[in-house]
């Protein structure tokens, strides 16, 4: 059962219909769930980038959003709550030839997996990370998450959450060696696709926070943004997201923002009256841990034998001749 949004998008790609190649099981998300749109965008990306299915791995944690890999006809790894990133790092380290994507929820990434998130940013390994941010815990049936707006009533906060939300964008931008930080919204397929494409093409850790609707538990969460397109700040730049005339017509409120400008990126990240959409920061030169650590010597019986022998020599007591 696919959602209206999914069907709409599928139709728009009718001409060369190979998205099917990347479809696996029927998604089991609720009707109207924003995850469907994200799935479609990724299937389209895989098709457009001609990613070999066997060379592509989607890694996730636990949550509604983390069901994602089950719906891709690629390799998938549906792991542990909060631990998608270190699993993905291990995969990438062992196999630089694989295309690695990570799907993680706001609880998965910004609560139980926070330590890994912070360090993954710093490692800056080549992978595309999609943080499906519905501002609450969906799978466990409506508990507050670190990104829930202050006052959100949930099953664990019946009288409203107590604190201001954590801001995943400014946290990410605060970490040394951050290399790609973007924000997208699930309800605008064009910009979503464009941003994810940019993220995929960046060589390094691309972090995309996607505001994702959860009609089941917080149906009106993003209404304010959706109903007032002028509250969306579209970030444009020759080195950033490419904006089509139709997109420009939808979102007239725009800022030309150089993704290399970290200070401005941090200001944009902190905006509360508008929702920025686009690429906040992009530094293609940031150091990549997987590049540095990539062993330049292939493993072979000969290298092992000679390394072992030279080590043994250091510790050997030889019999008298």
């Amino acid at each position: 059962m696919s959602t209206p949004a999914t069907e709409r998008l599928l139709k728009s790609n009718d001409e060369n219909f190979t998205i099917d190649d990347f479809k696996s099981n029927m998604p089991r998300w609720c009707t109207g769930c924003g995850n469907n749109a994200i799935l479609t965008a990724l299937q389209r990306l895989c098709r457009d980038e001609k990613l070999p299915r066997e060379k592509t791995v989607f890694v996730s944690g636990i949550g509604c959003s983390s069901r994602f890999p089950h719906y891709m006809n690629t390799y998938g790894f549906h792991g542990l709550h909060g631990r998608a990133l270190p699993i993905a790092e291990g995969i990438k380290m062992a196999r630089p030839d694989l295309h690695v994507f990570v799907n993680t929820g706001d609880g998965d990434c910004c609560s139980i997996g926070t330590a890994h998130w912070i360090h993954a940013i710093r490692y800056n390994m080549n992978m595309t990370v999609l943080m499906h941010d519905n501002h609450l815990y969906g799978l466990t049936k409506k508990q507050a998450s670190p990104t829930s707006p202050q006052g959100l009533q949930s099953n664990t906060t019946p009288r409203g959450t107590f604190l201001e939300p954590l801001n995943p964008l400014s946290v990410t931008l605060g970490i040394t060696n951050a290399s790609f930080v973007a924000q997208a919204v699930d309800w605008n397929p064009e910009s979503l696709f464009e941003i994810i494409s940019r993220a995929y093409r960046h060589k390094g850790f691309s972090f995309v926070r996607i505001l994702q609707r959860c009609p089941e538990y917080v149906p009106t969460m993003f209404d304010h943004w959706m109903n007032h397109p002028d509250k969306t700040l579209l970030l444009t730049h020759e080195n950033g997201m490419q904006v089509s005339p139709s997109l420009a017509a939808t979102y007239k409120n725009q800022e030309t923002h150089d993704p290399l400008n970290l200070d401005r990126a941090r200001e944009i990240a902190s905006m509360t009256e508008q929702v920025p959409v686009g690429i906040l920061f992009h530094d293609p030169e940031a150091t990549r841990y997987d590049d540095i650590r990539d062993p330049d010597r292939p493993i072979s019986p000969e290298t092992i034998r000679s390394a072992l022998d030279s080590e043994f020599d250091k510790f050997t007591v030889w019999p008298e001749q």
Partner: protein, 635 residues
């Protein structure tokens, strides 16, 4: 310094060259336990290790135990600050650290007191004590030194005060560095070691330093040697048999790291934790030579997850940790069990629970290794019993992990981690290493969990293999890796994963009994206590007792044939370095007594009334202690 004003407390070292070398009788010993202790940073470790290495070069058996203070920089001259090494030198192959110390060299009286109070010294033990404290400017130090000295003499120790500082000052401006080589010279003289072997050893350990440094140290060594020759009235000789084949002398953690290299594993993810870390230190140094990497993750959970990711997409990876880190890894280990991802997990056990005793020896994680984690998580648990085992266990573990797509937990402990024992230099075989990664296309109908009906084994699909696309999940799943809520599918998955353990079990051979296959008592052990237990068994057999022992390498699954072995003995007990209640305690009885790990395991499986004895003193078990326990058990 006027030595003549001193009370004559040193037999034969009153400042004159008392007993000439020619007067000394050389006493032949079967074995000698020697230790050297100092404040941290005075080089006692290096001295002890070198002494052991020279003994090994001489052809003696050795076992060394590190004496490590809990703090990095404990206050100088403190009882808890003793740092150094203890070396058991034997005429034959030595399998454990032995009993109490015969001879100790101490660079101050406080660190020595630490050793005395923990009962580590034999009654009448020979003490070679740095005497500079007798003339210290600080009166308190002088008082403490004299008092301790007098007490030790009174207690019957054979104390020799030695002007180490004074003698070294003749050769170097700062004796704090270099005194250890002077001491090494003394020890070599006492044990009649060939001086040239000691010179070679110094040249070897300072191999990356200038010739001037090497020469200066050799000079100190020779000075110590000469001093002992002229001033000490005793000398020993421990017969040695030079090895007929090359031996390597390393500690357990180094052996383990070498084993990792030899196994063809390529990724080790870890987070620093004592006493496991030194294995990763060494591996970090050598692994890249063969295309491997050591990843220091942000925590143990990440380390385990990283290793799982690497294993899933490549050849089997490993993670090395100790108790607290092993606790943190449990959820991830469960994922590897569920997803059938090969993984090697090393737990270098330390004292627990909680932060426990980080630098001390204990083997309390056995049941946790077997049954830790929620739900049923069949995994292999094996334990190294010697330094050599630490090496080969990595090769075996990797092989099992990849053959059965299972988690293999290898238990070692703080004792093995830091102890040195020579073993035959391994001869590399290509069979040891992992096969090349399978990237061939999978047949059309292949399913990611196509479990074999009998063995439970399914072919592993590795990313990159065409037509193998599926989503691995920690959720209950069917043969297609599809999430399954069907009760029968869950039942089947659990059964297949369990069957793999049974299949491995069918390949294990029954361990051999040490001693007669029948008798009054069978002592069962596992892990690092093997040497001590077997030595204890030898001793009590000499006393006429019909005692044998059995040592287990595979703890999960247990090999076949054990029940038959147990039935050959009137009684059976385990001896372990972990907690168990003392049945003699007032409120302990059969209804509430908590047994030590292996006793629980064996009692449950074999329905035999197996007794146990254990202690948690943070020390390796001593053969003398085990022999006493056995004798008491027989009464």
């Amino acid at each position: 310094m006027d030595t003549t004003t001193k009370p004559d407390l040193m037999p034969g070292t009153d400042g004159t060259k008392a007993p000439a070398a020619a007067d000394k009788t050389v006493q032949t010993l079967d074995e000698h336990i020697v230790e050297i202790v100092s404040d941290s940073g005075e080089g006692a470790q290096k001295c002890g290790q070198s002494f052991a290495a020279i003994a090994a070069r001489m052809g003696n058996g050795i076992w060394t135990v590190e004496i490590i203070p809990a703090e990095i920089q404990p206050p100088a001259r403190s009882i808890e600050g003793a740092s150094g090494n203890r070396i058991r030198v034997g005429a034959n192959y030595v399998t454990n650290g032995g009993d109490e110390t015969d001879l100790v060299v101490a660079l101050n009286e406080q660190v020595l007191l630490g050793r005395v109070r923990t009962g580590e010294l034999k009654p009448g033990c020979t003490i070679l004590l740095e005497n500079k404290w007798r003339d210290d400017r600080d009166e308190e130090i002088v008082a403490s030194y004299t008092q301790t000295h007098d007490e030790l003499v009174q207690a019957g120790f054979r104390v020799y005060e030695i002007p180490m500082e004074e003698e070294c000052l003749r050769l170097v401006p700062d004796p704090k560095r270099g005194k250890n080589m002077f001491v090494l010279g003394i020890l070599c003289n006492i044990h009649s070691f060939e001086l040239q072997m000691a010179r070679d050893q110094i040249a070897f350990i300072f191999g990356n330093k200038s010739q001037a440094v090497i020469d200066a140290n050799i000079e100190l060594l020779e000075a110590g040697h000469d001093w002992a020759e002229c001033n000490l009235d005793f000398k020993y000789r421990i017969p040695a048999t030079k090895a007929s084949e090359p031996q390597i002398v390393v500690n357990g953690n180094t052996a383990l790291a070498l084993g990792v290299l030899a196994s063809g594993m390529q990724v080790c993810a870890m987070y620093p934790i004592t006493p496991a870390t030194s294995a990763s230190h060494y591996l970090s140094d050598i692994f890249e030579k063969v295309g491997g990497i050591v990843h220091q993750a942000e925590d143990e959970i990440a380390a385990c997850a990283f290793a799982i990711g690497a294993s899933y997409s490549g050849s089997c990876a490993l993670t090395i940790t100790s108790g607290p880190g092993y606790s943190l890894k449990q959820e991830a280990i469960g994922l590897a069990v569920m997803g059938e991802i090969p993984l090697v997990v090393v737990d270098v056990q330390r004292g627990g629970p909680s932060t426990g005793q980080p630098t001390k020896a204990e083997q309390g994680d056995l049941l946790f290794a077997c049954f830790g984690g929620h739900g049923d998580g069949p995994k292999v648990v094996m334990a190294a019993a010697s330094i050599e085992d630490c090496f080969y266990s990595m090769i075996t573990a990797r092989k099992i992990a990849e053959t059965f797509n299972m988690v293999v937990v290898v238990l070692t402990d703080a004792n093995l981690a830091t102890a040195q024992q020579p073993f035959k230099r391994p001869d590399f075989s290509e069979d040891w290493i992992a096969p090349a990664l399978d990237q061939s296309a999978l047949p059309e109908a292949a399913r990611p969990y196509d479990w074999d009906e009998t063995t439970g084994i399914a072919r592993r699909f590795i990313p990159g293999q065409p037509d193998g696309m599926h989503c691995l999940t920690g959720l209950a799943h069917d043969r297609d890796s599809a999430v399954a809520y069907d009760p029968l599918i869950n039942q089947e998955g659990m059964e297949r994963r369990s069957l793999k353990l049974a299949t491995l079990q069918k390949t294990l051979t029954t361990p051999t009994v040490y001693g007669d296959p029948e008798g009054e008592l069978l002592v069962i052990g596992w892990g690092s206590s093997k040497g001590a237990i077997e030595e204890a068994v030898d001793r009590v057999r000499q006393d006429g007792h019909k005692v044998s022992s059995l040592h287990l390498t595979f703890l999960q699954p247990l090999p076949s044939g054990l029940k038959e072995i147990l039935h050959g003995f009137k009684s059976v007990m385990t001896v372990e370095n972990s907690w168990s209640d003392d049945p003699a305690s007032e409120i302990i009885d059969e209804d509430n007594r908590r047994y030590s790990n292996l006793a629980w395991l064996l009692r449950a499986r074999y329905l035999v009334d197996i007794d146990c004895w254990s202690e948690v003193k943070g020390q390796p078990l001593k053969p003398g202690t085990v022999a006493r326990v056995i004798t008491e058990h027989l009464q």
